[in-house]
Symmetry: C2
């Protein structure tokens, strides 16, 4: 009964130790290195790697249709450890199509960096470790970077009418990149 489901979706389930989501209606999207052309600075290093290598997957729950005003979505992202040249594996990153929409990211497992970029390309970061909860204000692009040696697992909650603007990032990137310098992550 789809009407019933819309009015009263059943609970889904999160494993607090792994971040894994399960339940009816969970969707999944996987991003491989081959799908992330142009994202990493060292294009020669990117070309030398296997394009089917998984960089991240997002599992998400949309209890109401995309674009619903006043609704919320819930998701889990698993970002693999790795580098392209000296640059850590990261998510594509996006602004929200409706610019003022905020979002929460909360780290379940792993270590990383949350990258923020304002509309004027000013870029800053916060350290991610299990338990950190990050508020992404409206009008701020956001990207996650895995600076550790195990998968980085985060939970997220965002507005169902926020939408995604990936094109701005594809065109101009972020103002800074997270790379390894003498074994440590460094924002350059």
């Amino acid at each position: 009964m789809s009407t019933q489901f819309k009015v009263n979706p059943q609970p889904t389930f999160v494993d607090w130790s792994t971040g894994d989501l399960s339940g009816e209606g969970i969707e999944e999207s996987v991003k491989t290195l081959g799908q992330l052309a142009g994202l990493f600075k060292d294009e020669a290093a990117w070309r030398s790697m296997d394009p089917v290598t998984e960089v991240y997957r997002v599992r998400f729950w949309r209890p109401v249709p995309e674009g619903t005003s006043g609704g919320l979505f819930w998701g889990a992202t698993i970002l693999q450890p790795g580098r392209v040249g000296d640059e850590y594996f990261m998510t594509h990153g996006h602004f929200h199509a409706i610019r003022d929409r905020a979002e929460y990211y909360a780290t379940v497992k792993g270590t990383g960096a949350m990258l923020f970029m304002g509309e004027e390309e000013h870029t800053w970061s916060q350290t991610m470790k299990p338990g950190t909860v990050h508020y992404i204000p409206g009008k701020v692009a956001h990207r996650v970077v895995n600076t550790g040696h195990e998968p980085l697992v985060i939970l997220a909650s965002w507005h169902s009418d926020a939408g995604h603007d990936y094109a701005s990032i594809r065109t101009k990137g972020f103002g800074k990149r997270m790379v390894v310098r003498e074994g440590e992550p460094c924002l350059v």
Copy 2:
């Protein structure tokens, strides 16, 4: 630097095993039995109990001011076990002032019931146990009931412009109550 804080709030911290929140700017609100006059059906039982007994406390993080369009809040509720007569301890419950605003509740510890009530007083419930994630659609009042023997800890995420309408619940209550019947929770 309050301007900096608004633009770039620092991460807060959640303990995934206890649900506890810590960090700069965490607020707390405590509700005692004495503050919940008229909420429970058995008024004689309520009067016989110590009014300073804690029923629940909410710890919450508002990185943007209440009423901000497009923003989100994050909170943790700790609901104690107990009963007033045959009725389990519960939160006050509310609609959102802006009626279409949804909310997520996610159970960290304990067992309970999530009560939902539509605007026509149709009332239903979902079982809460560690890991259940509950979507509260817009236009639906919501209340949490602790049906177990340990504190029920839940995390929540909601819109910063949702607001709270407690008055409708104070006046008319929910359509059903969660009571103990032969040792088991029962919605009557």
